[in-house]
Point group: C2
Chain length 507, copies 2
């Protein structure tokens, strides 16, 4: 997921929860005695489940590199059919194909599942273990992990769901809910075409019958097993802001000798000028005309949820992990968490212009690019935000400055009172997992495709287990846990089965 | 030379001189009948001269890559000894070694020569001919060229001088002037240690006896053979302006997830803020506190020289060559030439921060760098300019913003009335070459090391012949000219011999 890293960061904040009385999973699992046959089937299928994950990791679909398409979609379809979906089809899009699958269990309720079959790019030489092999490694104190690209983001958690479905089949059980699966192969490039897939009439019709949509997740705190349930996420828009002599009609078309600066306009200086209008002088407040008008302040309940999180999480370890000495404006921990949830941001991911190698080179560049991403909060939308940015630049004479949006989506929200949310909390409680409810994660996922119009469904992350390293080298997923508070893959699969029953039972 | 490209650009401006009555070199060379024996010796040595240049090109010294040191200096020393210098020594420096050589001809006058033995980096795959082979190629309409890294910048023109000296020896002639040669191996990294070499007491003492210092040059207009004599050049300072979380104590130390922007300060935004204070909103006027106070306006004579150049040069072809549609502020051609000579500049050569690959990446970078170069006019100095930039940033609270100067020097000026200048003009005239006197080139060379204290000597470029592609692929030097108005290497060597006699004769 796009926000893998920061979600994990946030969760790590919870690592230092102190004094909270927690039931150990071992005790809690007694509640799932009714699932003893399923548990047995999961154990029997363990090796097959691990192999299924390894085989999947060996086929990385990477949209940015146009790697393994449509093979990744075909594979996803096959995984669904193998897991018991009666129907599974490839859904073409303007970009990479999606997959739509249904599992009719004859149940009253239907649960939606969102899978991504693509993974982030990787540089094999940076890994301690080959990123496409999914090797099992011992990690002292943690247990046996499986290392590979996509291990936690998102093939590991998704394979955990598949393992649960295989086990239900093996145990001869009918699922307590019907399933509708939608999968995409462009999550890592910000889901530019997923809306098209989800709003196909027959796909939308199937999803609308569901109580909501879950993306499988595995982010238990590795120390205490705690999880955070996110009621929403910021939206994100990725773009390049480009100044070029070509488009501007001033400055050079290509790089020219730098002494010409005396009489030739400079695209990078124009980029600096345009960028400097977008934020406050400290770079921390979005100053795009009219943007702040769209921002809905936090509700009292949201503030209370954040305060509760602040009280039981540790600032120092978060700062240390981020390599940050001070929050902006020297805010408190609670204020920093509020800002994380409450404010829209505009971030420079990268600057590229002219000569970028070692030392200098006497050029006046013909082009300058800022890679920028905005994060949106309710009630901002992608379309309105892009339009306001364009108008802001135009008003200041930067009509030539290109805003090339490459992907993105608005913020997502699901009510705390939704049946889907309550079913999640029920399973977490039954498994004795310390749970924090958090109003809005600063990272982003395309949940708004489900929670926004036309579907207007609840949607969120669900799952137990652990993994880390999304988007980074040495990404891994926990297979066998050495910590009784953190679930390995088999127990996480059992938790998913439990969740299906909670969904069925929650009014 | 650092300013190879733009010097050639400026010269190309003169390509469209129309209606100017010019003596063809053929006719003019009659004046050098007294040098018939030298001319013969040059012809006899032609193949050896070409081979000397090819062998030199095969040994590229590149300071930025620490390639071929001290081999390049040793080779330079040997070239000097072979050409008739009685004394030649390696001069160590904090950086790469220089070479100091003297040729005592028992003459009354002494001429200083400045050589660079280093060359610019190259990427062999971008060349049509191997850059270290110095192959001879036919170029229709131009003649036979020698292609290789350093061909024109500066080994070709320097080899032309060596060819002249070898021919004088072969003809059994004593030189009409003594020579003092100083060579460096760090010109392409802005001569950071050349001052140290030149101010060694015995080197400085020898140079002080000279009428001035010449760097060999070959920049005849390929169409009409015209040359421009530059009375000066802007200075240049190369630097990196760096914002880092490490130094700032805010923002992240390394790249972190971009959603953290909500609560974490951003080095690239701070770089944008700092940069935007350095120039006017259009990027065209240096706004560093106190910089403009140092600028000496153009004199009436300088304006007149520029106006004369503007009148006989062609704006359209220059704009086309640069890929520029408009000068800043839609200035006229003459205004553009005045600015080129008159104003200090601050140019962004490159911007580098965070993710610079294709597409985007959700990071908040821990570091942001602007590669910047300033060009200085009289009476600015490097030291004062750097101090003013530092003070400007500090005053605005950017005390953590690093200014890492990697090289540079102040502007250089030589009087139009200097004997050295008049000797140059005399040879150009004797060879029937249309000559434009230009007050100050916008490009830079370390002439101030000679023209500034403590030496205070005249210094400039001198030479006939042609070459192009400095710093670029397919750099070449003209060996045999197909255009009677442009001198090949042999005639250019003869012109250098003539110049030595003009120096001897000019009071």
């Amino acid at each position: 997921m796009k926000n893998g890293t920061d979600r994990r960061t946030l969760l790590a904040s919870a690592a230092a929860v102190t004094g909270a009385a927690m039931m150990a999973p071992g005790a809690a699992l007694a509640k799932t005695d009714k699932l003893a046959d399923v548990k047995k089937a999961i154990a029997a299928g363990h090796d097959a489940s691990v192999k299924r994950l390894q085989d999947w990791i060996a086929l990385p679909s990477i949209a940015a590199e146009n790697l393994n398409y449509p093979a990744g979609a075909d594979y996803m379809r096959k995984l669904a059919l193998d897991a018991g979906f009666q129907h599974a089809e490839i859904v073409p899009s303007k970009g990479k194909p999606g997959v739509f699958a249904t599992l009719d269990a004859g149940a009253k309720k239907t649960l939606g599942l969102y899978f991504m079959y693509d993974v982030k790019q990787f540089v094999a030489s940076e890994w301690e273990s080959p990123p496409l092999e999914g090797r099992i490694l011992d990690r002292p104190g943690m247990g046996k992990i499986l290392m590979g690209r996509g291990a936690v983001n998102q093939k590991g958690p998704e394979s955990t769901v598949l393992a649960a479905l295989h086990a239900m089949k093996a145990a001869g059980r009918k699922l307590p809910v019907n399933l509708v699966l939608v999968a995409e192969g462009e999550e890592e490039i910000a889901s530019p075409n997923f809306h098209e897939i989800v709003t196909r009439p027959h796909v939308a019709e199937a999803l609308k019958k569901s109580v909501g949509v879950i993306i499988p997740f595995a982010a238990q705190n590795p120390a205490n097993g705690a999880v955070t349930l996110f009621l929403g996420a910021k939206g994100a828009i990725e773009m390049e802001i480009v100044v070029s002599g070509e488009k501007w009609g001033r400055g050079p078309k290509g790089d020219i000798h730098s002494s010409e600066k005396a009489r030739v306009d400079s695209p990078p200086w124009r980029l600096v000028a345009a960028l400097s209008t977008l934020v406050s002088p400290d770079g921390n407040t979005v100053m795009i005309d009219g943007i702040q008008d769209q921002v809905r302040p936090l509700t009292d309940r949201e503030r209370a949820l954040i305060a509760a999180t602040a009280a039981k999480t540790d600032e120092a370890s978060t700062k240390k992990q981020l390599g940050v000495q001070r929050w902006i404006d020297d805010m408190t921990w609670e204020q920093s968490l509020e800002r994380l949830a409450a404010v829209p941001t505009i971030n420079i991911q990268g600057l590229v212009s002219g000569y970028t190698g070692p030392g200098g080179k006497t050029v006046l560049p013909g082009r300058a690019v800022a890679k920028v991403e905005m994060r949106l909060v309710p009630n901002m939308t992608k379309e309105e935000t892009v339009a306001k940015l364009r108008a802001h630049l135009d008003k200041r004479g930067f009509t030539d400055v290109e805003v090339n949006v490459t992907g993105g989506y608005g913020p997502t929200e699901t009510p705390e009172t939704a049946a889907l949310t309550r079913a999640q909390l029920a399973t977490y409680e039954r498994f004795g997992v310390e749970t924090t409810v958090y109003p809005r994660i600063a990272g982003s996922w395309p949940g708004v495709i489900f929670t926004g119009p036309p579907l207007n469904l609840p949607a969120g992350q669900f799952g137990l287990g652990h993994g880390s390293g999304a988007h980074a080298p040495n990404e891994f997923f926990l297979i066998e846990s050495a910590n009784p508070k953190v679930l390995g893959m088999d127990d996480a699969a059992l938790a998913f089965v439990d969740f299906l029953y909670q969904v069925a039972a929650t009014a």
